[in-house]
Amino acid sequence: MVEIKNLCKKLSNRLVLDNVNYNFEYGKVYGLCGPNGSGKTMLLRAIAGLIVPTKGQVVIDGKVLHKDVSFPPNTGIVIENMTLLPQFNAFDNLKLLGDLRKIATDDDIREALKRVGLNTDLKVRKFSLGMKQRLNIAQAIFEKQNIILLDEPTNALDEDGVQLIYDLIKEERNRGALIIVATHHEEDLREMCDTILNVSEGRFYEKQTVH
């Protein structure tokens, strides 16, 4: 379980996360919905251990982030400004990342690429925006991550790609992963999520259970 306790984050005297409290459970898909700058991505960063809270805690499976561990174990993330290496192809990119933890086999990498519909030996520098997004999603799932954090996962994807991501998210949920999706497209969230949290000015003020 991911527990968010009194989480606050202040940046340049602006409160971007304002006393957030919530428990996220495994085997469910959560959606964060809100306008740009509302704090959706910042919460994903906080859960991924990328930002240090000004106040409060993120507790993952009983371990306090930035105290017991710096980053949550086995987490996949798709977030802006994450670029894969342009000089390598998709497989080699995932292989390089996989070598850091050595929990994914070559077959796992091939399977993840197949699942996102990437079957090419092209180098990443020759990828379209949509192909890069598919590869980003593949890197977030190829190690069978327990927690998957997706920021605007359907960006740059065509209709088929969007449907593929919907299906993939459902499969990951059925596997038992906790998935948190942040987007400002509410229709996307209704399609994918079990629970939608509305975010505004760093506050999580409403909860809708979809499924």
């Binding site: 960063r45 990328l50 240090v52 561990v69 710096s70 980053f71 990342l97 850091l100």
Partner: protein
């Protein structure tokens, strides 16, 4: 990325030979001059001589730069979340720096061996100078890592090079008190300036100082790295 690294290594090797070619057959440099430094008589034309002496340093610092910055930007974010501890990750970067500076020092010493006969010979202090060169090089690269947590790595490179140049210039020209030499620590790179050639007690004081500052910088680096937000 790999191409850039190869290009930098090529220019570093070139700069080492550039240094040797400008010092060989001149009586202004001792053997293993990259670590021992200029003779004490060098005062006129010092600015140019120091450029020859410090040019490899620019490439060394440049080669080692970006290790911390790259972890917090772009592809680095994908790498960093696959680690559990920022402290271990920081220490890994520092350890890599120690290994690389050791390799660089050994490389420079090896390249100098055939040319030593054309330079002024030293009776003592060579090993001490090499040790001090390695330690100060390490200190400079650690400082580069720390600065990268605050400023752009390229700006940190320029700041460090200018600081190194000015430090060496001041210490070579003026009779600077030992405690001031500590402030101008890049000058401790060279044996003629850090007393290893004279081999007196200040050498050991400088060694202790360099080690302590290095440890302190690493502790500051770990603290700052743990508090750094990655966007």
């Amino acid at each position: 990325m790999r191409r850039n690294k190869i290009l930098l290594i090529f220019f570093f090797v070139l700069s080492v030979f550039f240094q040797i070619s400008n010092f060989a057959n001149r009586d202004k440099l001792y053997e293993f001059g990259f670590a021992v430094g200029l003779t004490e008589e060098v005062k006129s034309g010092l600015d140019i001589m120091l450029i020859y002496l410090l040019v490899p340093l620019t490439f060394i610092v440049f080669m080692m730069s970006g290790s911390i910055h790259n972890l917090t930007h772009g592809y680095g974010k994908l790498q960093i979340i696959r680690h559990y501890s920022k402290t271990k990750l920081f220490l890994k970067c520092i350890g890599k720096g120690v290994f690389e500076t050791a390799l660089i020092t050994i490389f420079q010493a090896t390249v100098y061996i055939p040319f030593n006969s054309t330079m002024l010979s030293l009776k003592c202090g060579i090993v001490q100078s090499l040790i001090m060169y390695f330690l100060v090089l390490n200190l400079i690269t650690t400082l580069q890592c720390i600065l990268e947590l605050y400023i752009n790595p390229h700006i940190a490179n320029i700041v460090l090079f200018i600081y190194s140049y000015i430090s060496c210039y001041i210490v070579q020209i003026f009779s600077v008190a030992p405690f001031l030499r500590i402030l101008l620590f890049p000058s401790l790179l060279f044996g003629t300036l850090n007393s290893s050639v004279a081999f007196n007690n200040t050498y050991y004081l400088y060694i202790i100082f360099v080690l302590l500052i290095n440890i302190l910088l690493i502790l500051i680096g770990i603290y700052k790295f743990k508090k750094t937000d990655i966007f």
